[in-house]
Amino acid sequence: MIFDVVVLGGGPAGMAAATEAARSGARVVLLEESPAPGGQVYRAPPAGFEMKPDRDRQEGDALRAALAVSGADIRTGCRVWGLGGGPLVPEGQPDAPFSLSALGADGAPFTVQARALILCCGTHERIIPFPGWTLPGVIGLAAATILLKAQGMLPGQRVVVAGAGPLLYAVAAKILAGGGSVAALVDAATSGEWLRALPALTARPDLLAQGAVWRARLLAARVPVLAGAQVTAAEGDKVLSHVRVGERVFQADALCIGHGLVPATEASRTFRARHAHRPEDGGWVPVLDAAQRTSVPLLYAAGDGAGVRGAAAAPAAGRLAARTALHDLGFSLEHASEEDAALERARRTGAAMARMMALRPAMVAAIPAETIICRCEGVTRAEIEHAATAGASTINQLKHFTRCGMGPCQGRMCGEAAGALLASARGVSVADIGFTTGRIPLRPVPMASILGDFDYADIPVPAPAPI
């Protein structure tokens, strides 16, 4: 069977897109890696866990409930590894249905085909490397929110929270609420930056109020808040024991640190959609029209994976992508676009926060030479700069010169910093050094899982070359 629409990613954008398309009568399948839909912000706790629901949880539950009754085929716990179809066809052939190969929650391989594909792949965290960031006990800020909100778990007893963006204050407040202590909050942004962001934040009084509550909690707990500061080193024997911020040293058993969010564009790159480098959107993003279309016919993108605007803005973008897809597929839609002012406010606030979380070139410039940038392959800043001097001029060539980005994470963790370092060493913009080519598998896949049962005789070995 060929679906009308496949939605890749079950965060707020994906849940809303699948719901909207299925409600309109399309045959829809949603593929999600986690055991339940939700994404990172609206992530649900595991079955059997009950914790006091917060606002995010309630919004996530509403989206989950709507999705559950939408009629969409929801496949969670599956790992999508193969992408094909669409424009990925031999020369001269018409575009094919999109084809996604995956492993189900039960480990069984399956493939879905669909006429249209909506990418709602979200983001991953940006970490600007610093000495000791690979030490156990150092985790991402988004990682900390997952532990706190979806696992009911403190990252440590005494935690340093550091980086940029509103997540800092949310994580610190939740650690305090969960009974942990916060040794320090280290905010890369100055108070002046927050002041400049204020006008955009007033569009969302609810968030402003939330932020005020968080800050009050920190104040009450006498947490040192260091503005315009950054972690200079994480140190410890085997595991983290203390965090240096310039001259100051904080004892800590966990450091939660993140410098913003990076759109996950592996799939849109694999489908060869046009991308642009927009630091204010998080980095490389697929180029979209006003109705969420990428440059590839019947391929759409929505949510933070198409440019960071936050979870609140994502469902509307997902719904718009779904309506556009159905329109392009020839469905007649009963209701027209009805995006409201709330969406515009959410987008405005999201954009202000995204700017706050954009890559900070000064922070990259301050990375010491011997710091590991690519933790999969152990490549340091000095090695990247040496490669730049030796002639590496693009991110793909940097991989060849240094193996930076060739490990299991495929540059997802180091790509931003490596790109900024290479661009800076070459004296060009990040846009000039390009992005890494997208290739399957979308995520590392265990060979044993994809092999399945097969007979040697059934392997379709092509004809041999002439002798």
Binding site: S99, R272, P444, P464, I467
Partner: protein, 370 residues
């Protein structure tokens, strides 16, 4: 137009680089141009297999000499290194039909100079403990090995600069006027001689000179695993040649063999086909069962050129003085540096150590417009 070079080499893959390097060392003023970056197409993304058992029989004498060059690369390439590693090679047969193919191919390759012996499955497992049971027959070649192809550009770059080659990356040649003025976005580049070394784009390059040289494009898929504990110690293939396997010092296992993906001359490598990806890794896991423990992290594509008779195009371009061509060498990485060396010998007016592969045989029609 600032300088007139003695020779312009168009295409900075392994053959273009080697030709340029040896021409410069022979005293010529050389410019080497590439529309992209040095060794970033087939020369930088191939499987790095340095084996006689996938090499066409006619190329074995060349591949043997190139094998020696790869193993000693730092000595002739100003320290440039692709981490070439010598190891035994095995080509295995699981069925009677494959055994028959293996026997015939081993005999032909042996006659061409490759020291291939046929052994049984047990003997093959003694050489390669990672090999699966059920091997009926294996070809064993002690002269084999592999390299890290992605290092090729880095390895050549310093040597080219040391030899005085002017390297112009990201400089697409758009056409050739007269004898020989290359039209590029960086301005005109003039040279006394021209060498076309453009891999699958040789067909387009030959057309600049009014020469019709059909070049077929193979879209070879490759797959690599995550680092894993040692599971094999040879270069391993199957009788049909549709598998190449090797484990690098860092623990990654590279799975190749020429399964076809989607792509073309215009768009380059477009996409890895999931079905061929699966077929390729199944063949790999059947041959080395421990690969079932691996995770696959990446696949990619390399474009290989092939002439009508699948033999190389290396020599002068008929009818156009001082225009030369090099490419379309089957398993071209294996023989590449040696091919560059002998073409450079010919251009320098010396007798090549081994014969070139003139393209007269491949030309159906030709105009004299150039």
């Amino acid at each position: 137009m600032k300088t007139r070079f003695d020779v312009a080499v168009i295409g900075a893959g392994v053959m273009g680089c080697a030709t340029a390097l040896f021409l410069a060392r022979g005293g010529m003023r050389v410019v080497l141009l590439d529309r992209g970056e040095i060794c970033r197409e087939a020369s930088g993304v191939n499987a790095g297999t340095l084996t006689m058992q996938m090499t066409r029989a006619a190329l074995i004498p060349y591949a043997l000499r190139a094998h020696d060059m790869w193993m000693n690369m730092p000595a002739w390439c100003a320290g440039g290194d692709v981490l070439a590693t010598a190891c035994p090679g095995l080509s295995v047969a699981f069925t009677d039909a494959e055994a028959a193919m293996l026997e015939e191919r081993a005999r032909i390759r042996r006659a061409a100079g490759a020291p291939i012996e046929l052994i049984d499955g047990r003997a093959a497992q003694a050489i390669e403990p990672g090999l699966a049971d059920g091997v009926k027959l294996a070809g064993h070649c002690p002269i084999d090995g592999f390299a890290s192809a992605y290092l090729t550009g880095r390895a050549f770059r310093a040597a080219l600069q040391e030899a005085g080659v002017t390297l112009m990356e990201a400089t697409p040649v758009r056409g050739i006027d007269g004898r020989f003025v290359l039209d590029t976005p960086a301005g005109a580049v003039a040279a006394q001689r021209v060498v076309l070394a453009g891999g699958v784009w040789l067909q387009d390059m030959a057309a600049w000179l009014g020469v019709t040289l059909p070049i077929k494009v193979l879209i070879n898929q490759l797959v690599v695993t995550e680092r894993m504990p040692p599971v094999m110690r040879t270069v391993l293939g199957v009788a049909s040649g549709l598998l190449s396997l090797k484990q690098y010092a860092n623990g990654t296992v590279l799975i190749g063999g020429g399964w076809q993906g989607i792509g073309d001359r215009t768009r380059g490598g477009v996409a890895v086909r999931s079905d061929n990806f699966l077929g390729n890794v199944r063949l790999a896991a059947h041959t080395v069962p421990a690969l079932r423990q691996a995770r696959v992290v990446r696949s990619w594509l390399g474009l290989e050129a092939e002439t009508a008779d699948a033999l190389p195009a290396i020599g002068p371009i008929p009818g156009i003085d001082d225009a030369w061509i090099i490419g379309s060498v089957h398993s071209g990485y294996t023989s590449g540096p040696y091919m560059g060396r002998i073409l450079a010998q010919a251009i320098l007016g010396e007798a090549p150590e081994l014969p070139l592969f003139p393209i007269d045989r491949l030309l159906h029609q030709r105009s004299n417009s150039a």
